[in-house]
């Protein structure tokens, strides 16, 4: 009996982690966010596991390419937080903290934009020469909003622009070129 317990427990914990993506290399814990007390914007989306599979099946009927892209994704987390006087410093600190954590965990910063009051950082976790296991996007926009995104999966760099279009994230469109250059460097 005991000989079965360890592999069974291991298989169960592995399948649980696969369902939730938390232990996937491309997952990064962005932490918890609370709505601004002033009533500013707060949006949070958490898509994962079998829900994404269902979305892929629905999309397959009309957009087979979009369905294939969805199937390559394990989880998507999006947070949009409006900035006010009460939370601006804290959220800016969170952006810095996330970026520091990503650097320490070996993520590569592939896009940096600091202009016109916008501060954008896009990080990727490379799986191999042909795919990315995770993308994190952090944005402090001049419109007074902070955006945090983590996409986990087995994503081809050339599909990141398409993913950016579906998620309405312009910074992702710039990743395609940067990731290809990085993959070419890795092959050398």
């Amino acid at each position: 009996m005991k000989t079965f317990l360890l592999p069974l427990a291991t298989a169960a914990s592995l399948s649980l982690s696969l369902l939730h993506g938390a232990d996937s290399a491309g997952y990064f814990d962005l932490g918890q966010f609370t709505p601004p007390k002033s009533g500013g914007t707060f949006v949070e989306v958490n898509l994962k596991g079998n829900l994404l599979s269902m979305a892929a099946k629905i999309a397959a009927k009309e957009e087979p390419e979009a369905a294939e892209l969805i199937r390559s994704i394990e989880s998507i987390r999006i947070n949009v937080i409006g900035l006010d006087d009460a939370n601006r410093a804290e959220i800016k600190g969170r952006v810095d903290s996330v970026r520091t954590g990503l650097n320490a965990a070996g993520w590569e910063r592939v896009v940096t934009v600091q202009e016109d009051g916008n501060d954008v950082g896009v990080y990727t976790k490379t799986k191999d020469a042909d795919s990315i296991s995770g993308v994190v996007v952090t944005v402090l926009s001049q419109d007074g909003e902070a955006v945090f995104v983590n996409v986990v999966g087995d994503i081809k760099p050339e599909r990141l622009a398409e993913l950016g279009e579906h998620l309405h994230l312009d910074p992702l469109k710039a990743v395609k070129k940067a990731a290809k250059e990085d993959a070419a460097e890795t092959k050398k």
């Binding site: 709505p35 599979s53 269902m54």
Partner: protein
């Protein structure tokens, strides 16, 4: 005598359950009401379980309705709706930030997780799905909308198979229309 009592009792239970939402939707509504700092009163509340939908599908089987409408009806297995308004005089501003915190705590304990949360100057919207979604084609969802005028909870279970068939039918018709 016992059997005779059973019929009206069963009917009473069916009527009562049709006029009240299930436990998860009720827990969501109570958590939102508690966190909102507003006293609410019921405007509408009803629950249509699988038996009622089965009855509707059976009855409408004899009616000349659009095949797509029939398919759409097949995709819904149960639905519950509750609509509340602030009690007269209960005009305190909504504590929007606290609503999600409270409803998340309650729904997490009941085995649900939040799929979407939106808070802005007008309202709070949250969509909850079960933490463990099976590989079959059924999907449960609890939806909360809170604004100064209403507190609305909708809970539904859908079967994706008829929905996918409906989408497939509409897609083919679209191609036919393009051909003309």
């Amino acid at each position: 005598m016992g059997v005779l009592m059973l019929v009206p009792l069963t009917l009473a239970v069916m009527v009562w359950s049709a006029l009240h939402t299930g436990r998860d939707a009720t827990a969501l509504r109570l958590a939102a009401a508690r966190a909102s700092d507003v006293r609410w009163e019921r405007t509408v509340e009803f629950s249509a379980g699988s038996w009622l939908f089965s009855l509707a599908r059976f009855g409408l089987g004899f009616a000349p309705i659009d095949p797509d409408a029939r398919l759409a009806l097949r995709s819904v297995e149960r639905a519950e709706v509750a609509v509340f308004e602030p009690k007269p005089g209960a005009s305190a501003p909504l504590n929007r930030a606290a609503i999600l915190t409270e409803t998340d705590a309650v729904m997490t304990r009941r085995g649900w997780e939040r799929l979407v949360g939106v808070v802005d100057s007008e309202q709070t919207v949250a969509v909850y799905v079960p933490s463990r979604i099976g590989r079959d084609q059924q999907l449960d969802a609890c939806i909360l909308v809170v604004n100064p005028d209403n507190l609305i909870v909708v809970s539904a279970r859908t079967d994706l198979n008829p929905l996918l068939e409906l989408i497939g039918r509409r897609d083919r018709r679209g191609l036919l229309a393009l051909g003309h």
